[in-house]
């Protein structure tokens, strides 16, 4: 999946995560994560974000995520939606899990 524009999903509400995905020059994922539960779940959230992007075949992107205590399923959903939007792709494959 090719990131071609800015895609945003999620809110700043409690138990949600706001994810912004933008194109990046060159390969790789640049991730900025802030979380209300950074200390306890920061690594886990980062792993879910990177895993979800990999499962979509996104290999180049700038990702900015602001987490307010979202569960893993919510993180995955928000990342997928933001990625589809940033790729201007509407051929959603929600069930295609890693």
């Amino acid at each position: 999946m090719q990131i071609v524009t800015k895609g945003v999903a999620g809110t700043m509400e409690s138990s949600d995560i706001s994810v912004r995905i933008e194109p990046r020059e060159g390969e790789g994922i640049t991730l900025t994560l802030t979380s209300a539960v950074m200390q306890q779940f920061g690594k886990q959230i980062e792993a879910v974000i990177r895993g979800t992007l990999a499962s979509l075949g996104v290999t180049s992107a700038v990702v900015d995520a602001v987490d307010k205590g979202a569960l893993d399923c919510t993180v995955e959903a928000r990342v997928k939606t933001a990625a589809y939007r940033a790729a201007k792709c509407e051929a959603y494959v929600w069930e295609n899990r890693k």
């Binding site: 409690s14 138990s15 209300a36 539960v37 200390q39 306890q40 779940f41 920061g42 690594k43 886990q44 307010k68 205590g69 979202a70 569960l71 893993d72």
Partner: protein, 512 residues
């Protein structure tokens, strides 16, 4: 008048309080009562003068109450004056401290305050202390533990500075005002009463100086040395809300409904029972579900203790609760009830919860419903430190009421956002699992194995009971396993059980 030969009295040297022969009276005071009230009283010009007259010196202990909650101006006002006078190394023994006391950070840095005793800490001050602001660890005591330490003299209060919404020129003070309608109200002065009694010097600070006698009074003039009139003792909006809001959160309502079912089945719901509802949406909402059960069964409660809210007052006024014992009024409805309802009684902290006091009201409780930040698989409860290890709460009467009540029910949502409520080990033990009987969450009820009698009764009533381990597993399946919080070795706080033994230690957080 005849000459009295004192020496002629047999064994006169053994008669105490005998001050020799009568020598006449001083000139009689012929002012009117009204003139006298203005000319001879305990009113001093300023806080500064009260501090000077009290004899406050370096190294002494000053006390404050927290009945003004987040609207309190007294602590900051008095400490600013103390700092200006150059007095240092004080122990601040407050019944509790909160967000508004952030300026204390400055007084700690400049050495005015070196020790803190409190029930809790919140906001920037709590964060700074969790990051190692103080050399001496903060001593966290329950309301009952603090009362016991003050009564025994182990915590010796040199000067108490007690804010009061009304006071007369001799020091009769109260948490409401019967002379003027427009003044601030805080309701019960329960935590201040004991400080006034036990302090060497007591200063009452008020913004409504009313005529003698300010009866009924929470603090009698016999416990007061100086009275100071100031423009404003606090922000009414921060002191109390109009009415404690009734939760609309479906999770909390589910917990409350389940809790009422648990209480009904437990054997402690009968005609003439006693209860306390802790603060927090779910525990307060439990009162409403119990009310329906009481009406259905034609039961009345003999008394409600606390921490009083509008919900309890409503039940009192409709005849469902005979008496209210009030150490702290949580909302304006409660404060007005204390003022207007004869059987709504103001009590002090020792009467409420001191373990040294055999008659303490907590010992008369059938059940108490208490909130929790964390509960562990040994039923230990934390209400003091957050899931990131930072201090952000208060012990309050949690361990006192849990220990005193025959049935202590602790309520919490299974998860708050991604934060688990049921964990392997709480960050900070405040209330030991040995005094916690039932845990109610939105996703299951667990009974302490030490109470098979309660478990049996709940099951007989058809309430599904699971184990605390199962609740913990369910929690982890939803949120995952959190990484342990990193702490430094340095101890920043001591969590004291109500008998003033150390039950846990709070360490400096490591953000490295």
């Amino acid at each position: 008048m005849q000459d009295i030969d004192i020496k002629s009295i047999p064994r006169v040297e053994e008669i105490t309080a005998l001050h020799g022969a009568f020598a006449g009276t001083p000139v009689k005071d012929a002012e009117t009562f009204n003139e006298r009230m203005h000319s001879k009283n305990r009113v001093v010009a300023s806080i500064e003068e009260a501090i000077r007259l009290s004899g406050l010196r370096d190294g002494m202990t000053v006390s404050f109450h927290h009945h003004f909650r987040n609207g309190d101006f007294i602590v900051n006002m008095v400490l600013d004056e103390i700092a200006r006078l150059g007095i240092k190394n004080l122990t601040l023994a407050a019944s509790s401290l909160t967000d508004i006391h952030e300026p204390l950070i400055g007084h700690i840095k400049n050495g005015v305050v070196t020790h803190i005793e409190t029930s809790g800490l919140r906001g920037k001050l709590a964060e700074a202390i969790s990051r190692g602001l103080m050399d001496f660890p903060v001593v966290f005591r329950s309301h009952g533990g603090r009362a016991a330490a003050i009564e025994s003299g182990e915590v010796h209060i040199d000067v108490a500075f007690l804010g009061a919404p009304s006071c007369d020129p001799y020091g009769n003070a109260n948490g409401y005002n019967r002379d003027e309608e427009n003044s601030t109200s805080c309701g019960s002065l329960g935590y201040a009463k004991l400080d006034a009694l036990m302090a060497d010097k007591t200063v009452v600070i008020t913004d409504h100086l009313v005529r003698f006698p300010n009866a009924p009074f929470g603090i009698p003039e016999s416990n007061v040395d100086y009275v100071v009139k100031v423009d404003c003792i606090g922000d009414p909006k921060g002191i109390m809300s109009g009415a404690t809001r009734y939760t609309k959160n479906p999770k909390e309502l589910l917990i409350a409904k389940t809790t009422a079912d648990v209480i009904e089945a437990s054997g402690y719901f009968y005609d003439g029972f006693s209860m306390q509802m802790g603060s927090g949406g779910a525990s307060l909402a439990t009162a409403r579900f119990l009310r329906e059960k009481m009406i259905a069964s034609n039961y009345r409660a003999r008394f409600a203790l606390g921490g009083i809210t509008g919900q309890i007052v409503e039940m009192h006024e409709e005849g469902l609760i005979d008496k209210i014992l009030d150490v702290q009024s949580f909302d304006l409805i409660a404060a007005n009830s204390l003022k207007n309802n004869r059987f709504h009684q103001q009590i002090d902290a020792s009467y409420y919860a001191s373990y040294r006091n055999r008659g303490a009201a907590v010992n008369q409780l059938d059940f108490v419903v208490l909130s929790a930040l964390e509960i562990d698989t040994d039923f230990n409860v934390n209400v003091l430190t957050g899931s990131d290890g930072v201090i952000r709460g208060a012990i309050g009467g949690h361990p006192d009421t849990a220990a005193g009540a025959s049935l202590a029910v602790v309520v919490a949502p299974l998860t708050r956002g991604r934060i688990p409520s049921i964990v392997r080990r709480v960050n900070t033990i405040v209330t030991p699992g040995s005094v916690v009987d039932v845990v109610v969450t939105d996703q299951g009820v667990a009974v302490n194995p030490a109470r098979p009698d309660v478990k049996e009764k709940l099951e007989a009533a058809g309430i599904p009971v699971t184990s605390i381990e199962k609740l913990r597993e369910r929690c982890e399946r939803i949120v995952g396993i959190p990484e342990p919080i990193k702490y430094k070795d340095r101890i920043v706080g001591i969590s004291m059980y109500r008998d003033n033994t150390v039950i846990d230690l709070i360490r400096q957080i490591d953000e490295g």
